[in-house]
Every structure is written in structure tokens, then in C-alpha cells.
Subunit: 583 residues, 2 copies
């Protein structure tokens, strides 16, 4: 066989296996060295191809599809710094446990480290930030070579998807000529056409005796809480709600726990803790004996401090992904077990508990706080708090709400409460970067919708190139751009009291008219100046396709003051109520 | 002393030493963890601070300043994926030997790998792509700690700048509170105020006997050529021109050799080889006995093939940076010696040679080719070839011409010839990426000017965020945007003959109106539709400050045809002339 025939057989085996292994989406950035893989992928009848010129955005776009679909997504680029542009999304995928298959084309061995163009050292390019790295062999003739390509592919897809999910990196050295020899039936696998090797991944569990003992401990405990951080494990919501009902423990539900929206019971859901745990009297009254924690760290700073202040209580961390999610060195028990199974097993050893005063206190404080915070709705000026307070009401059924880091995720935590809609809340909370947010949300929109993205102007700017995806792929995406002309979160940090270099180093106003960028990408742009207009814009855009940006201009100073005033107001009112015997 | 006092003493020692070690420019991206370093840098009286929100662009911007100024430039960002966004520029700096000091703030040890926000594994984040990595100690009290900070800083700056130059990475773990205790005189070093440790870097040389022997070999050789690839070594241009005059060897001068413009003699400069080395008869007549090569690999594909076809001739590669610049395995001698010194030493052992027929042939063919290619000026349609042909004439004295990769650098090679102006030609030819070009050129503009950047639309799109620098720093930058709506270079590659997936995977038309983006960044935009307008726009903008984008709309198909027609025409004419006895 010729070089081109060998190469085609090798790569088409790999690509066929990719599809068999469950990959449906591939994000490709144009390039020369990657030509044979791109052309063969384009021929495959069941792979959806998405093209993105900027590799940084491409990788985040793939991350979004993978998050939305719970399936591994492949990304492909050419040799050189193209591959280095994937790095931020690769790191985010690793920490937030999202399956990505990174495929990079490379120069063959004889063209490495000898001054050849577009040649960089791609071996272990992402260091410890991928679960698995493979330097592929050069495409060779023969059946063993095809078996090799298929086995590596099956392993790569399973490794990316199995617990904890994450990125894998396959580096393909390729020699010229780079044009494959496409032929009918090249994806028909004669050997094992159903897949070369099926990989069956078990889940982590513990012996019944362990669960029985723990259930017994919990049963005898009056003051217990459950904390659910960001987690998206099939079946978890139902099981943890049942466990809470059996134990009569309140569930402190982070906005990314998927417990703040949905058809499950809201009885034990506590969703305003970020505000009332700022009050010292409250914290004193709510000291727990035991905390069971699931998922990544919750966003709430107040809750973090509460965890830290209660390091003498028993703190049980349950993690099906074998991590170490305990920044405050507060864990007493680290339990590596599948989370839904853990809840189910504990529940099975419990009889129904009686409701206790401690749990009632949590629920009362929660309701009281939400009542008090609802005064944010009276604000006539545009405000970030009110915006998130209105989201649960305004969003359509089955919406996905994606929020940027820095302020939006914190405002969501403070102002977005339990509702019965089926709303999925998402964010990039692995490394909490402001990079790649438009692209990740666009990837989500390519799979699920209707998509609402709420983010600030620095985050919007950072990934402006990501808007290209909505144009090239005709995506339907609603963006609520909170434009306070700079980095709003810094106003909440200690540097705000050092005005000398503040605006230059931290405030960083960009003074950009984002209408122009939006129109360049074929989107519509509404600048919202009052609440009526906001509601109208949301409703109008609900029935329109494409990219729609709604800009809400706010002020960093006013926002800071509003938050501080509200928290102080709530804290004072709670003190009054507690003194009045509401305890 | 308090935590804040210790931290301030430690970091101010580091920052003071940075300035003493020759760093003048720092590019900072806003962030929280990096607060103490940013605030202390802002206080320093002799550091110029540049702010850039997008870390990918920030790092390329710093690369541009370092390239333009031949000095190390420091970049600073916060913890998390911010640092990963530096990766493409770090890799480019390494391969193209540009000094960068990458400073990343990090979470302290107890907050690593425990689920804390914005915490990623930053230890050896850039792998083998930096010359030196240091995990700094936590800021500590005491004189030894300050000595440590200053020594590391001095080493880092020298390591970045010494041969071959490249990036270094210093990772600073920092604990809260992050606000330094600024005080008058904090940069006054009591110990060794002139700099803690001066590092004196020697240059590579060989014994006289070696140079004498080599000079003797070259003297006895009739058919010799010198090839100068991308190189910017002080004094090299003068010395290599003198060497060529002594040896009577032609110099094949890559556009980035800095030999195509300037006050030196043009007698032996060959600058049209990319066209005439496509002719088989010519190559047969020009077979060399010896080739002396300096600098990185030249851009010309025709010259590369010529090198490969003449692997039986003696090929001497001179590299003052100890690399291995030989992708064709054609080198017979790898000489690690400082390039200007090498030329000077060889020259000193040579008496004046007589001119030979072989060298005359090179020069005649070169002149003939340039005459023939000048017919490109008759083109009435907008054309990429004619544009570069006009550049030498249109550019003002002391201009910097920065060109994008893919087509622009190749067109420059074909159409930009020797001129007496003082024009510096620059590009990112380390990894030849299409990323970061606007930012690198903007960094150059922050140091030198007037700056002319010529690039294609995909390259322009890839680094659109880079335009922010021109707005925030009021830079003066002229951009010639060759918009052929997609990836022009792919039309020259074999995949162009496979139309099925061509436009989707390779052509990738974006259909973007870049006028909108330019206006968002406060620039002016001229869409050029004919040559008169082009000349007028260049001249009008020469006297204006700020960002000026001139868009030249061309067609990928027409461009391909023009290039092929021209090369065929020149080749035919040369054949006729050679047969007519012009040899």
C-alpha cells in the first residue's frame, strides 16, 4: 500500500472507533498538518463537525458541548502554538471534570527541534493537566496498526469519560503528503464492527456495614446539615432530597447543585444562606454537629467561613471522583463513593426521623431572609441584584442559565432562589476563570436551549472571538451583558480602599461600545435603560433566533452600595426578630 | 514585622532589582492574587506599566516590546487559567529567542489541589518551554529573604536575556491579606544599591587556528553562497556584508535577515531567489560547493528545496545560540559561535578574492528576475503581490514593517527587494502561528515606529482583542488588512484540489465587517478598492495618530492564479534567456 493508503486506513479506523465510543461532536480549527484527520472526520456520517478559527474559543466551545451532553467531545488542531491555545480550556476541563479528547497533529520525528516551521514540543504539552497523554505511532500498514489505533481511541474516550472525567491528549505525527485516499466504506470495520473494546467502568461503593454504621451515627445526631456544591451526577438530586427527608437535615444548595430549580420537594432546601450566614448571632445559633458535603466547593464566601469556623464538628466529604475538595482542612471523613449510591445506601438504613428545632431554625431563617431580600425588587434603578431576583420568573421552561465568574455567580447565589421550573444552571467553576465563557455557553447552546448567558463586560471582552461560533453555527443564544465598565468584583476587595492605582490596575474601564462587536457577528443588540425595557427585551428575544445581546448598564459604586445596604438591612432585621423571640 | 510588612519588603526588593537588571516595561493583567506585586510595580518610578485584560494578548504584547527593544519584558497575572493564556506567547518567545520574564501569582501551598477557587497546578506550568522555572518561597522576614528575592530576580533577567534568549517563569505563592504596606523609599536598596549581582555573559568563540583553517577552505572554493535567515544580532549585517565582499560570495537574504533594507552595500545581496530557484535549469547551473548559513530557517520553500537537493555540498550552519537549525539533515558543520564575531574572524584571515563567474550568475539571475517580476506593477486589480512590491517605496524612513504568517511573509519574500531605507522587518517566526500578531506588532509600536502591520483576515480575527492595546495605550499603528475572506494559503496546498470539504475545513470564510471592530476600538477604517486610493490612504494616515486599518479586499482564486502565472512567466523567460546565452 502507498503512504496515503496506510495513513487513510489508520486514521479512518481511529475516527470510526471515535464514533462507536460515543463521540458525536468534533470541533475543528483549520490547519495544514491536521488535514488527513479533518478530511476523514468530515467524511464520517455520524460525527457533527463544528469549525472555529480561534483554538482558545474552540476548546471552550467543545467544553460547553461536553458539559451539556455529558459526552466526550473531540477537538482537533494543527501543529504549533495552535495547540497551546487549548491550554486554558484543558485545565478547566480537568478541574471541573469534563471529558475532552484533545487531538493535535504534529510534525514527524525528523522535523522536531530542528527549526522546521510550526514545530513546537508537543510531547506532554499540557503537563499534568490531562488524565492521559499518548504520542501516537506514525500511521503504518497492517492490521495490527489498525487495532492499535482503535484500542487507543477506545481507551481515550473511556478515560476521558470515566470518573473523574477530564481531558486526554493524543498527539499524531503525520508525514506529507497529507491528503488521504478517501474511499467508500472506509469506516466499515470488518473486525469487531460494534467497537473494538468496550470498557465497562465500575462505580465506587463501600460495604453495607460501613453505611449501616454511618446511618446509625447520623440518626443519633440532632444538628446536622447537608451541603451540596456544584455537582451534576445523574440521579443525585432525587436521592439527596430523599436522604434529607429521612434525616430531616436542611440542604444548603449551591446554585450549581441543580437543587434550586426542578420538580423535587423544596421543603428542606436552603438557598439564602449566603446572606444570613453573614450574621454572627445566626451562626452562633446554627452551629452544627455534623456536616455532609457533596460536590465541588460552594461559591458562597459566607458559607466557606461557616465551614472554617466549625472545624470541630464532624465534616464528611463525599466524592465519587477521588478528589480532595477541602480547602479549609475541615474534613473529618473523606468518603470516596458514588454520590447517588451513597445517599441511597444511607437512606436504606434509616427510619423516618422526627423533625427537630435545629432544622426548623434553618428553614425559618431562610424564609425570613428571602422575604427581606425581596425588597430588592423595589429598586427602580438598574441593579445586578434585582436582575438575578427576576431570572427565575422570566426564564422560560427548560432554559439553561449560564453565568460568568466574578460577580454574576455570586449575585446568582444571593438572589436566585428555588423554583419549580426545569432550569439547568451552569458555570465554569473548575478554575473560575473569566476566559472562554462566551464559547463555553455557545457550546452548551449548540446542544441544549434556550440558553441565557449572564456575564460582566470584562468577561464578555475576554472571549469576544467566541461570538463567531454563534454566527458560523447559527446558534440561538441570549446574552445579558452587565456592563459596569470594568472589574466590578474588585470594589468588594480590600484594594478598593487604596484609590491611588485602583482604576488603572483593577477597575480597568474599557469604554467599549459592544453594539459594534455584536453587529459584526450578526447579532441584535438592545441597550436596556429601565426595567420595563428589560422585560420587553427578554420576551421579544424569546421568539427570535440567533445571537441577541441585551446590555444592562450599571455602576460599580452603586452596586457595591446596594449589596452592602441590603446585607446590613437583612442582618439588622434578623437581629431584631431573633431578639423578639422568633428563635 | 507584620505579614504585610514582610511581604512588602520581599516584593519591593524583587521589583527594585527588576529595574536595576534592565527591565523597563511590565505588562499587567488585572487580578486579585497578584495585587501586592501589581501595586508595588505601579509605585516604582522607572517601570512603565501597560495594562491588558486578555492575558493571551498581554503576553504577545510583551513579546513585541521585547523584540523591538532587545530587552527583557516582565508580564504579571493572577492565579488560575489566566497564566495558561500566556502559553502561546511563551512558546513563541522560546523558539524565536526573545527574553520574557513571566511572573504568576499563586495560591499558597495549603490552598493547592484542595478545591480552592482559581487554583490550578502552576508548578512547571509551561513545561520545557521556559529556560528556567522558580517556585518562589513565601515572602518571609529578614535580610536573607530580601537577598534571595534580589538574586533570583537578577538571575531571571539574565537568564532570559542571555544566549539564546527566551522566557523564564517565576511563580509567587502569596497569602492574604494581599494589600502591601507601601512606604517612601521602599525601593532604596541599602545593600549593593547598584544591583545585587551583575551577571556577565560571555560569547561563544573558537580558537584562531579553527577560523584560519576554515578561511583557507573557503578561499579555495569557487562556488560558495551565504544564506542569511531571520537574525537580529547587533553588528551582524555589517560583518556579513564585509565577509561576502572578501569571499565574493552572494548573500541570499531572507526578508527577516535585516539585509534587504539599509545603508550597506547591495552588491552581493540576492533577494529574488524565491522565484528563480523554482526553475530546474537555474538550480542545475547554481549548484554550490559550500553554503554558509546564519539565522533561523529562511521562509522560502524554493530555497528549502535547494538546500535539500544540495546535501552533498558542504553546508556550514553558524549559530551563536547552540540550537539545531537543520530540518533537512543537510548540515555538514555545526559551528556554535557568535555570528558577527565569526564573520569578523574569518574575514581577518582572508585576502580579497577575485570575482568569479558563479557569483556573477547569481547576481545576473537576481536582477533579471526582479525586472521580470516588476510587471506585477501593471496589475490594475488589487493584488497581494503588487502591494508588497510597493511597500519599499511607500514606507517612510525608519518604519517597522511587521508581517503576518501564512501568505504575507511569503509575499514579502517574493516581492519586497533591497532598498536603502532604514526599515526593520519583523514577524513571529518561532512557531509561525497566526495567533497574537496584532498584539506583538502593538508591542513593537509601543517602542518603535512608525509601525506598519500587514496581515490576512484570519490572523486579524484571531487576535482582534489585541486591538485593545492601541486604545488603552494610544498607540500609533497602521494595519494593512488583506481580506480575502478566509485562509488564502490553503489554495496553494494539495487540499485545494479536493473541493468536497475545502471551503468548510480550509477556506473558512468568516464574512465579517471588520470596520465595526475597528471603530469599537476607536480606530479609523478605510476600505481600499483601487490602487490610487491605497496610496492616498497610506499617505493620509502617515500624518495621523492612533489605530488606522486599511482593508484591501482580494480574492483567493485570483491571487493563486496571479502567483502561478507570474512564476511560470518568469521561469519561461529565464529559460529563453539562458538558452540565448545569458549564462
Amino acid at each position: 500500500m502507498s503512504h496515503q493508503e496506510d495513513m487513510t486506513a489508520f486514521i479512518s479506523s481511529f475516527v470510526a472507533e471515535l464514533s462507536i465510543a460515543g463521540v458525536e461532536d468534533v470541533v475543528i480549527s483549520p490547519g495544514s498538518r491536521s488535514t488527513p484527520i479533518a478530511l476523514i472526520m468530515a467524511e464520517h456520517p455520524r460525527l457533527r463537525l463544528h469549525i472555529h478559527v480561534d483554538e482558545r474559543s474552540a476548546a471552550f466551545f467543545a467544553l460547553g458541548i461536553a458539559k451539556a451532553s455529558y459526552r466526550p467531545v473531540a477537538i482537533l488542531c494543527t501543529s504549533g502554538t495552535a495547540a497551546a491555545n487549548y491550554y486554558p480550556a484543558v485545565i478547566e476541563a480537568g478541574i471541573s471534570r469534563v471529558p475532552l479528547i484533545v487531538i493535535t497533529a504534529d510534525r514527524p520525528h525528523e522535523l522536531r527541534d530542528v527549526g522546521a516551521p510550526q514545530a513546537i514540543d508537543q510531547i506532554h504539552l499540557y503537563g499534568h493537566n490531562v488524565k492521559w497523554f499518548v504520542e501516537m505511532s506514525l500511521p503504518e500498514a497492517g492490521e495490527d496498526s489498525r487495532r492499535y489505533a482503535r484500542t487507543v481511541c477506545a481507551r481515550a474516550a473511556t478515560t476521558a469519560a470515566s470518573f473523574p472525567s477530564g481531558p486526554v491528549h493524543l498527539n499524531f505525527p503525520l508525514r506529507e503528503p497529507l491528503i488521504p485516499n478517501l474511499y467508500e466504506g472506509m469506516f466499515d470495520m470488518l473486525e469487531r464492527p460494534e467497537g473494538y473494546v468496550g470498557i465497562h467502568q465500575g462505580k465506587l461503593t463501600m460495604p453495607d456495614s460501613f453505611f449501616e454504621k454511618l446511618a446509625d451515627d447520623l440518626h443519633s445526631c440532632e444538628k446536622g446539615i447537608i451541603i451540596c456544591g456544584p455537582l451534576e451526577e445523574a440521579g443525585f438530586v432525587e436521592e439527596v432530597v430523599l436522604l434529607a427527608e429521612k434525616l430531616k437535615f436542611p440542604i444548603l444548595a449551591d446554585p450549581l447543585s441543580q437543587l434550586r430549580s426542578g420538580g423535587h420537594s423544596e421543603k428542606y432546601i436552603v438557598d439564602a444562606y449566603d446572606t444570613f450566614l453573614r450574621n454572627e448571632n445566626v451562626k452562633e445559633k446554627l452551629k452544627p454537629e455534623v456536616i455532609i458535603r457533596f460536590g465541588a466547593m460552594p461559591v458562597s464566601k459566607a458559607l466557606s467561613i461557616f465551614l472554617k469556623e466549625n472545624r470541630n464538628s464532624r465534616q464528611i466529604v463525599v466524592d465519587g471522583g477521588n478528589g480532595w475538595r477541602d480547602p479549609f482542612m475541615s474534613a473529618t471523613d473523606m468518603i470516596y463513593a458514588d454520590e447517588p449510591q451513597f445517599c441511597k445506601s444511607i437512606s436504606s438504613f434509616l427510619c423516618e426521623e422526627k423533625e427537630n428545632g435545629y432544622t426548623r431554625k434553618w428553614c425559618e431563617l431562610n424564609n425570613m431572609t428571602k422575604d427581606l431580600l425581596s425588597r430588592v425588587r423595589d429598586t427602580e434603578e438598574l441593579s445586578e441584584g434585582k436582575l438575578f431576583h427576576m431570572m427565575a420568573e422570566l426564564l422560560p421552561e427548560n432554559a439553561v442559565l449560564f453565568v460568568g465568574n466574578s460577580m454574576p455567580i455570586r449575585d446568582l447565589d444571593t438572589f436566585f432562589y428555588f423554583n419549580k421550573k426545569n432550569i439547568r444552571v451552569m458555570a465554569n467553576r473548575g478554575a473560575n476563570g473569566i476566559d472562554g465563557i462566551i464559547s463555553t455557553a455557545s457550546g452548551v447552546a449548540a446542544h441544549s436551549g434556550p440558553l441565557y448567558l449572564v456575564l460582566g463586560d470584562l468577561t464578555f471582552f475576554h472571549d469576544l472571538n467566541g461570538l463567531l461560533a454563534s454566527k458560523l453555527n447559527s446558534l440561538n443564544i441570549n446574552i445579558l451583558l452587565i456592563n459596569n465598565n470594568g472589574g466590578g468584583i474588585f470594589s468588594f476587595l480590600p484594594q478598593a480602599s487604596h484609590p491611588k492605582h485602583f482604576e488603572k490596575l483593577f477597575g480597568t474601564p474599557l469604554d467599549l461600545d459592544f453594539r459594534l462587536a455584536t453587529e459584526m457577528y450578526g447579532g441584535t443588540f438592545d441597550r436596556i435603560s429601565q426595567w420595563d425595557g428589560f422585560r420587553e427585551a427578554i420576551e421579544k428575544n424569546m421568539h427570535k433566533n440567533g445571537l441577541k445581546v441585551m446590555e444592562i448598564v450599571t455602576s460599580r459604586d452603586v452596586n457595591l452600595k446596594e449589596h452592602r445596604d441590603l446585607w446590613n438591612y437583612v442582618s439588622r432585621e434578623i437581629d431584631v426578630l431573633l431578639e423578639g423571640g422568633a428563635q
